[in-house]
Amino acid sequence: MISFEHVTKRYGERLALDDVTWRMEEGECAVIHGHSAAGKTTLLRLITHETQPTSGVVTVGTFRGGRLSRSHRALLRRTIGVIYEDFRLLPDRTVYENVALSLYIAGQHLEADLHPKVRRALHEVGLEAHRDLLPAELSYGERQRCAIARAIVNRPALILADEPTGALEPKSAAEVLSLLLRIHREGAALLLGTTRAEVANVIGGRRYVLEDGRLRDAAVAAPAGAAAGGA
């Protein structure tokens, strides 16, 4: 589903990704664990084609490398649910509208179809009570939950989660991670980037360590469930 072949990404003279080769199949689950500024977000951005590699080829689904046309890029992105590290909620829409937008963009315009899906997603992240608040009126953790609801509401084929529990205390974090795992088990591929070892442990799946732009395969861990509450 995703494959990186000798991908290098430079920003000016700063090397963000250094000769990364890596692939991930449909329905697979992978964690990229790395310190801050290791290049995790850069790697995810290459997948969504927000940025282009300096050299090497990124293939996502049937979209292979190079610059995509605007409409192809849009098409690609509609199959991916991204949880951004900085959430990227629309500040002038309520929680409900933010989540519903995902469905509108995917071409679902029937209220009758839409409404139950949005409600289910809000229920899954525990934001039903906040559906009519604007993002600015949410606590930081609630905003992150809203971002997660938006990414999963359409049950995309691939979920990219960039530090999806950064704003949550351990208990909520565990809940959110198990939600993501459940959706993964329903068939979605899940790629999660994090700076925290405990998150990586909970997710299990294939585990990569990203250190100063170099990707290292850290064997397959058993999908643990205990280490989460640890701190």
Partner: protein, 285 residues
């Protein structure tokens, strides 16, 4: 689908009410200017037709022609050039006195020096400078004719005026269309820039350009539609106000009004679609 776009357009309209109001106001200003111009053009055409009636040729007759000669001449003139009216020497004298204003001025004149004449209201096809010149030459050939006068200068000016009018019409139309395009372009650019973050996020969520642009196109159409109707009302008010002074100033027929609105909407549609395409490209990935 369509409902969603209209709802979004309405949201944007309300969210940027100040911007919307300014946009509608400046569009109204531009369109009113254009409307006033169309109004005057419309009335000028009507007036020109009316003035056309007065483009006459005066055929001065020799003093010694007989009634038979006169009536043959009248018939010939009627056949080839237009509707003749006979003005006797006495009538000519009375008219001159009236024109001079002070009848006393001519009271000392005992003998009437003025000739009789035929005033010819020319046929429409002769109503331009060259044709008139031609006609005058032909009339002068008749033996009964002393002299021919026609408003050569006057007609030339009228021709120039109406040509100028038409040129100005095109120029003004072009300028206003350009102004509308620029204004819409700018309003849309500002609306989108004020929502740059939102647009970026939507692009990242996979929204197509059309999906993002449509509400703004609709908003632009709303602005323009409002402005077009408002400017027609303004022009109507102007016409009502002026009609007391410039008697006979008539309002545009409803077909003109309708095409005016539709044309404005058309320009707005093209302008905003083009603008949004460009702006979305600069906002980016």
């Amino acid at each position: 689908m369509f409902l969603y776009f209209w709802r979004e357009a309405w949201r944007s309209f309300r969210a940027h009410r100040g911007l919307a109001v300014t946009s509608v106001l400046s569009l109204t200003a531009a369109l009113t200017l254009c409307g006033i111009f169309v109004l005057f053009d419309h009335n000028a055409r009507q007036a020109l037709n009316a003035i056309g009636d007065r483009r006459e040729m005066i055929v001065y007759l020799k003093d010694d022609i007989s009634d038979v000669q006169l009536s043959t001449l009248t018939d010939k003139v009627k056949l080839y050039f237009g509707e003749p009216t006979y003005v006797s020497r006495q009538q000519a004298w009375t008219e001159l006195s009236e024109q001079l204003g002070d009848p006393a001025l001519l009271s000392g004149v005992e003998d009437n020096p003025l000739p009789a004449s035929l005033r010819v209201r020319l046929k429409p096809e002769l109503l331009n400078f060259t044709a008139m010149e031609q006609a005058a030459k032909q009339v002068l050939e008749f033996p009964e004719v002393e002299d021919v006068r026609y408003g050569a200068e006057y007609v030339r000016r009228l021709d120039e005026f109406s040509a100028g009018m038409r040129a100005t019409a095109w120029a003004a139309g072009g300028v206003v269309a350009l102004a509308i395009v620029l204004m819409l372009f700018n309003t849309l650019r500002l609306t989108l820039l004020a929502r740059r973050h939102q647009v970026e996020v939507m692009l990242r969520m996979g929204a197509s350009d059309r999906f993002i642009a449509m509400p703004y196109v609709l908003e632009g159409l709303m602005h323009t539609g409002l402005a077009a109707v408002a400017s027609l009302l303004l022009v109507f008010a102007l016409q009502q106000g002026l009609t007391t002074r410039l008697a006979g100033l008539t309002f545009l027929p409803w077909t003109w009004s309708l095409s005016f609105v539709l044309l404005a909407l058309g320009v707005a549609w093209v302008a905003s679609t083009a603008a949004l395409n460009r702006i979305l490209r600069t906002i980016g990935s």
